[in-house]
Point group: C2
Chain length 496, copies 2
């Protein structure tokens, strides 16, 4: 509204070169948005984790009846927020500089996004009432409209745009393309809002479409290329020319890391929130029940502390694995981004696992199920991390640092790091099935042993590598000896 | 433990140059630690905000009796966590590169820090029982010990250290100095733990000392320099030589921003947590009380939504002001860091303000107090931001970008931005005193008007600047005219 037009801004300084200019780099705005979006995506596990399950009920039944629906909605909303995040990443790859008006518009957008968890709570509590899904859709449409205004503002003040687009001749083409990416979701949500009053399942299907749409179109293009071959190659060449900017950096690695860090940090903190809210004894109760002995009252919560520290260790170490992996990732492709988001969705489920292991640790008939749910969540969170790594290996020239490629110096160590959690959680799962009486002991032992395993992993890998090498050299020696023997024999044969 | 010794690592790549090296840049580890620490510092407002106040009670009394003690402990703990954060910043200014062992040690340190809010909750619930403060102190001591191990490990593997220290001859001196900074707090906490069993008030005094100690020593040094003059100047010259590394960059600006972003993000999200937990109606209640009409049930929560959006706008705009300010800050001095932390402590109090305005908005006799508390919290949060700016101006050559200095092109605009919230919140406070009947209307009007005020601020500033200039030029003209008249007169006089 009030921002004066200025020339292309000076890079590096964070400020426009002209006196009185209000142009700024968008770095900190994006970091703040990433923090907000990651927290909002993850906070949605709370209505699931805080579902009251009666202690007398069997957890098996409750899981099936009560939790599954809520978990499905949590996963869907997590994925929708990440779709909004991906659109946000695209948007601010086009608009590289901001001014006060854009900063305020972005804050307005964030305000509506932080309201999404509430609409999600309504959906989860009243799955049959259209109002929840209607409110959700309206919010999504408003977010889309604000982002469209941001695009319009950005293209009206071209000095805010990405250098490449600024210099390009067909700016309108870019504008239409980015608007298409941004408004795709809101249009589907708009349809969902209309249908919510007639036929709710269709609305849910439409919301599901919002999530899979980007990947669906990509898959269709990929299939077309495979089937039609030559002709589509030309097409792709054409699109390569105009969209080289998008293809060169599918998702900014920095923002993928920032978003992941936010999720890991908030999940670790949701645990302490639960501890602070639930496990501080009531002063009156302490006086009456425990004869004013606080220590005695706290000893009742013993298993909760153990479960808390165990969960924190799990989250911390999964972050550590993620950190180690992305240290060697040089570019995050779209598929790697998707796998990362799936991994994060399961990480977000860990507070639920904590709630289960702390609440049901003592009740014998729910114990095994609780521990098995924890193992399953941990397994999926870690196996998707492993999948990021294998996907990166498929295209290792572009996506991985030389050390981590096949045959690189860190390859074996990275493999061991990423394989540790899937193996251990799978092992614990089957052990609890076999030795159901010792399930709690097995689970806690696993949580205590793993950090030390990580500390000693490098030594293990080195020992096993040298062992493998010596075995291989031994076998090669044998082969050589055999060959020599054969060679010794064959002259004899030829002689005889 | 298992990390092999490698040569000085290559910069920029994030990886050591030698094959098999495990040295990494610490950037992402620090970002994650900042996120965890800022969330933990702020989460401690929850036991305060969730204090149940009976609706029939007068808020004035309850504030005095119940809240004040808890708020005091919240502020103290917030400040102690920020002290731990400052020590962490110092520590990782010395150790610039990490390996797996350091990453795992740092995670262990974070785990203990995330447990601090629970000990705080115990302290707040049982102020007279020594166990809470004992547990808090033990945690602080353990944190100090882990950090000491990190220092020892870092100096045992010198390639992990800051380049300047790596090349320095008296590494032992640096080691002792950083150990002193890190262990100062834990030693005081250790004493507090011992005294907690004999005389609890002394423990609280000792914990208070932990917070003020760094600033106290600084103040004493400063006073000494002023009083003794010459002799201490020599001393300072000596210390300048050895500590030039510390004096050149008191607190990394990047980490101050990251920590602040974390606090703003989590405070904005605590609000939606409250909304999601408290304002989703019970399905049964809806059926019985509202004849299955969800919309009717939700309309009961109308004021809560208004309060939520109002609070989010306040936090968002305070972040916006902070962002604008730090865009022009080139270096954060220690005093600016302290003022920033005080500002953040009040920002952390905003969920309390939300709780008050949403819970008591309808009850007439608590309404005014609730709104006044909100105004006071907003006022202090924003006035400390203003204080950062004035402090920066005192030493503008070093701390501010040329645009924001006195006489710079952005100076007036920055002043207007920073002065808006203190003025408005102070104005709203006094208006509610005078027009107590319209207090709610005034408060909500204020929250709606401010974003538009920010959008139009640049125009206002320009208009007022041109108005001032024209007034000044007018008055100058008058002076000139008067002088001319005098000049006209004086020749006459000399003539006559």
């Amino acid at each position: 509204m009030s921002a004066p037009r200025v020339a292309a801004p000076e890079r590096g300084l964070g400020l426009g070169p002209e006196p009185g200019s209000s142009t700024q780099t968008s770095h900190r705005l994006l970091a703040y948005s990433d923090a907000l979006l990651s927290i909002i995506a993850t906070v949605m596990i709370l209505p699931v984790a805080h579902t009251k399950i009666h202690p007398d009920q069997k957890l098996g039944e409750s899981v099936q009846q009560l939790l599954l629906a809520k978990i499905a909605v949590y996963l869907m909303t997590f994925l929708i927020v990440t779709v909004a995040w991906a659109a946000h990443v695209r948007l601010f790859q086009v608009i590289e500089h901001i001014d006060d008006v854009l900063a305020l518009l972005n804050l307005a957008c964030m305000m509506i996004i932080t309201f999404l968890p509430y609409t999600f709570s309504l959906m989860a509590s009243f799955p049959g009432v259209p109002f929840g899904i209607f409110l959700f859709s309206v919010c999504a449409v408003v977010i889309g409209l604000i982002q469209a205004v941001i695009v319009a503002y950005g293209f009206y003040h071209p000095h805010l745009l990405n250098q490449q687009i600024q210099e390009s001749e067909n700016q309108d083409f870019y504008k239409r393309h980015i608007l298409k990416i941004i408004l795709r979701g809101p249009v589907l949500c708009f349809l969902a809002a209309i249908f919510s009053f007639f036929f709710i399942p269709l609305s849910y299907v439409l919301l599901g479409l919002v999530i899979v749409f980007p990947h669906l179109t990509r898959l269709i293009t990929w299939c077309k290329t495979k089937v039609l071959g030559q002709r589509s190659e030309e097409e792709e060449h054409h699109s390569m020319e105009t969209f080289s900017f998008y293809l060169s950096e599918p998702l900014s690695k920095e923002r993928v890391e920032a978003f992941s860090d936010g999720v890991y940090a908030i999940v670790a903190t949701l645990l302490i929130l639960d501890i602070c809210e639930d496990n501080v004894p009531d002063p009156r109760e302490v006086e009456e029940k425990f004869h004013s002995s606080l220590l005695e009252a706290l000893s009742e919560y013993g298993p909760n502390y153990l479960a808390y520290f165990g969960s924190f260790v799990t989250i911390g170490l999964l972050w550590f694995v993620h950190h180690s992996l992305f240290l060697y990732v040089t570019k995050a492709t779209r598929l790697m981004g998707l796998l990362n988001i799936l991994s994060l969705a399961f990480i977000g489920g860990l507070p639920l696992a904590y709630q289960l292991t702390s609440e049901f640790a003592e009740k014998s008939h729910n114990e095994i199920e609780a521990i098995q749910v924890s193992c399953v969540i941990t397994f999926f969170a870690s196996i998707f991390q492993f999948a990021i790594w294998t996907t990166a290996l498929l295209n290792e020239e572009e996506t991985l640092h030389a050390f981590a490629r096949y045959g690189g110096k860190e390859h074996a160590f990275m493999f061991a790091k990423l394989a540790l959690y899937p193996c251990v959680s799978l092992g614990a799962f089957f052990l609890t099935c076999l030795l159901s009486e010792f399930s709690t002991a097995i689970f806690h032992l696993m949580q205590i042993v793993i950090p030390f395993a990580f500390l000693a992993l490098r030594i293990f890998v080195r020992i096993s590598l040298t062992a493998m090498k010596s075995v291989m050299s031994l076998s090669r020696r044998k082969v050589v000896l055999l060959e020599e023997e054969e060679a010794c024999l064959s002259p004899n044969e030829t002689l005889s």
